[in-house]
């Protein structure tokens, strides 16, 4: 299954802060994203998982150039986004979109749902008033909202309905690539399922490519074709979803997966708990950034930083011991 590359990031880095102000002292800045290489193939769903603050959302926004990268490049359908001027970037916005976590905060409370959706057409000067209104109704049909919703304000909807509005707005310009940034995390479990099904239906119907950012591993497993695991601003493992969940290669992925509760209460659990806290992005460890918390750490891990490299079975992993097969075998509960 080799599909066309939709989006490709090379050495993507974002350092927040860092420049000393007139009165403040010079600081190193937080390396929120630190040299991320990532490929999303056309039509696939790439899951991006990791704990809070590891740089998942920042990566998603960097891919869309909603924030400017400190270093690195992003190619979207072969064009380098980082080299576009602001005006060129604005014109190409329609092809790449984002669905947000907070279904209330992502809608302007003073705009009707119809205005929010048709704003995309107004910005890109598509159609006239009548055709825009028609397109809005089509979008509402597409996401399963009643047509009467167009004249209502966001506060008149439930969380799940608002998320549908956010999806309609994101899809209004028929993008090919959509970043779903914790798109279902703020919703009730039953509503989550509806929205996930909607996203999957839309993907089939409109041939969408998703980057699905989430900390919810079950959701990611369900929706993703491939999964990338992020730790402290770096991708540590990329693999087919089934493969990754059945046989995680990186010790961090192993720990992450062992935190998923078993589906039956009597099932034996092999918790593989991490000690210590996530190091600060201001002060990243030398060598492997997972070394201070890794149960299998060796001296070389503290000395050199492992690069993301392919294993014989096609997975990519950034771990010295996984690469040379010296990592103790680890079995998950399932």
């Amino acid at each position: 299954m080799t599909r066309e590359i939709a989006i490709e990031a090379r050495g993507l880095t974002k350092v927040f802060g860092g420049r000393g102000s007139v009165f403040g002292r010079q600081t190193g800045g937080a390396r929120a994203v630190d040299g991320v290489d990532l490929i999303v193939r056309s039509g696939e769903t790439l899951g991006l998982v990791g704990e809070s603050g590891c740089g998942k959302s920042t990566t998603g926004r960097l891919l869309l150039r909603l924030i400017e990268p400190t270093a690195g490049s992003v190619a979207f359908n072969g064009r380098d986004l980082t080299e576009l001027t602001k005006a060129e970037l604005r014109r190409s916005r329609g092809k790449m979109q984002i669905i947000f976590q907070d279904p209330y905060g992502s809608l302007n409370p003073r705009m009707t749902v119809g205005d929010a959706i048709s704003e995309a057409y107004v910005i890109h000067r598509i159609g006239d008033r009548a055709s825009r209104a028609k397109s809005v109704l089509e979008m509402l049909d597409l996401v399963g909202l009643p047509r009467s919703a167009a004249s209502l304000y966001p506060h008149e909807f439930s969380g799940g309905q608002r998320q549908r509005v956010g999806i309609a707005r994101a899809l209004a310009l028929r993008p090919s690539f959509v970043v779903c940034d914790e798109a279902v995390s703020a919703l009730d479990v039953s509503v989550q399922a509806q929205i996930i099904n909607l996203l999957q239906d839309l993907q089939r119907e409109l041939n969408l490519t998703y980057l699905f950012i989430s900390h919810n591993l079950s959701v990611v497993r369900h929706i993703s074709d491939r999964v990338a695991v992020m730790y402290l601003g770096r991708i540590v493992e990329v693999a087919e979803a089934d493969h990754l969940f059945a046989d995680p290669a990186h010790p961090y992925t192993q720990a992450l997966l062992s935190a998923i509760p078993p589906s039956h209460p009597d099932e034996p659990r092999h918790r593989h708990e991490l000690v210590g806290d996530l190091p600060s992005a201001h002060d990243i460890p030398v060598g492997c950034r997972f070394a201070p918390r890794c149960p299998f750490v060796q001296d070389r891990c503290r000395a050199t930083d492992p690069q993301l490299s392919p294993l014989p079975d096609g997975r990519f992993v950034a771990c010295h011991r996984a690469a040379d097969g010296s990592l103790p075998t680890y079995r998950l509960n399932s």
């Binding site: 970037l89 014109r91 984002i98 009643p146 919703a149 304000y153 309905q161 707005r169």
Partner: protein, 290 residues
């Protein structure tokens, strides 16, 4: 789905309608609005309401205490204080309203630009800080003294004096709104800076400004009185609340009514505006409630 959407037709729907409905449930807003409206009506219909010409001198009626002919008494030129207060409401309210409008426009533009464009924030706000370092009334006196005494110059002076604080308030709410997710959503759609600012940021940042402007209005009425008192207010003989008091101060022991009645008029106006502002604040900016 149908439960959430099928609401009675009369229910308030747009955020603006919700605010209006809540305002009419606020006691302090209603009392304040009634007082301000009453004074505004007096000012508008001054020619009809005032029993005498506010500028007509008459030696025979000098310094008359309040009685059934001259309800508020007369001043040292024999002019009817009631008529002067009624006409004074006109000038005082015009000064207050125009100051609030000018401050609103200037403060919105300065604050919006400073809050929205990070590179301009520091230069603009440091300039505003410099202006704020002067006490507003001293600044107003200085400007009015340089420009000369006239109603327009008083408005200009007070607007300059009240703009920095207003700009700071607008900037603060722009900073808050700018970080909300729907701003990022608009950018992701390709909206230009101007569009994001005008369509998304400002409509959600006006609440604190409106509250602030009611206080500017009240402050301007008080400041006009202060400027008149030291002789840089609107020039005589045209009456304003402040100029009537200023002219009455030489007779304050023999004819206290000259100063008392315009003073009461100031109290009622400022009280009304402050109650109005409190009501607006409770509805528009609930976090500020004490």
């Amino acid at each position: 789905m149908s439960i959430a959407i099928a609401k009675p037709e009369l229910a308030p729907r747009s955020p603006t309608m919700i605010v209006i409905v809540r305002l009419f449930q606020s006691r302090s807003f209603l009392i304040g609005a009634a007082l301000v409206l009453a004074i505004a009506l007096v000012a508008v219909f001054a020619d009809v309401l005032s029993p005498y010409d506010p500028l007509r001198n008459s030696f025979r009626t000098r310094l008359r205490p309040p009685d059934s002919t001259f309800w508020f008494g007369t001043d040292h030129f024999g002019r009817d204080i009631l008529s002067r207060v009624i006409h004074g409401a006109r000038i005082s309210l015009v000064i207050g309203l125009m100051t609030a409008l000018l401050t609103g426009i200037a403060g919105t533009m300065i604050g919006a630009v400073a809050g929205f464009f990070p590179t301009l924030d520091n230069p603009i706000m440091r300039l505003m800080d410099a202006l704020m370092a002067f006490p507003a009334i001293v600044l107003a006196i200085a400007v009015a003294a340089v420009l000369g005494a006239s109603v327009v110059n008083v408005i200009i002076a007070l607007s300059i004096a009240t703009t920095p604080h207003t700009a700071r308030i607008v900037r603060a709410s722009v900073l808050v709104v700018r970080e909300r997710e729907f701003i990022e959503a608009a950018r992701a759609l390709g909206a230009s800076d101007l569009r994001v600012l005008c369509r998304h940021v400002m409509p959600n940042a006006f609440g604190p400004l409106i509250v602030r402007l009611t206080y500017v209005f009240a402050t301007a009425i008080l400041a006009e009185a202060a400027l008149s008192f030291i002789g840089v207010g609107p020039p005589p003989p045209a009456p304003s609340f402040g100029s009537i008091i200023a002219q009455g101060r030489d007779f304050i022991t023999e004819a206290p009514w000259i100063t008392i009645f315009p003073g009461l008029a100031i109290i009622v106006s400022v009280l009304g505006l402050n109650l109005l502002g409190d009501g607006l604040r409770d509805v528009l900016d609930p976090r500020m409630r004490t």
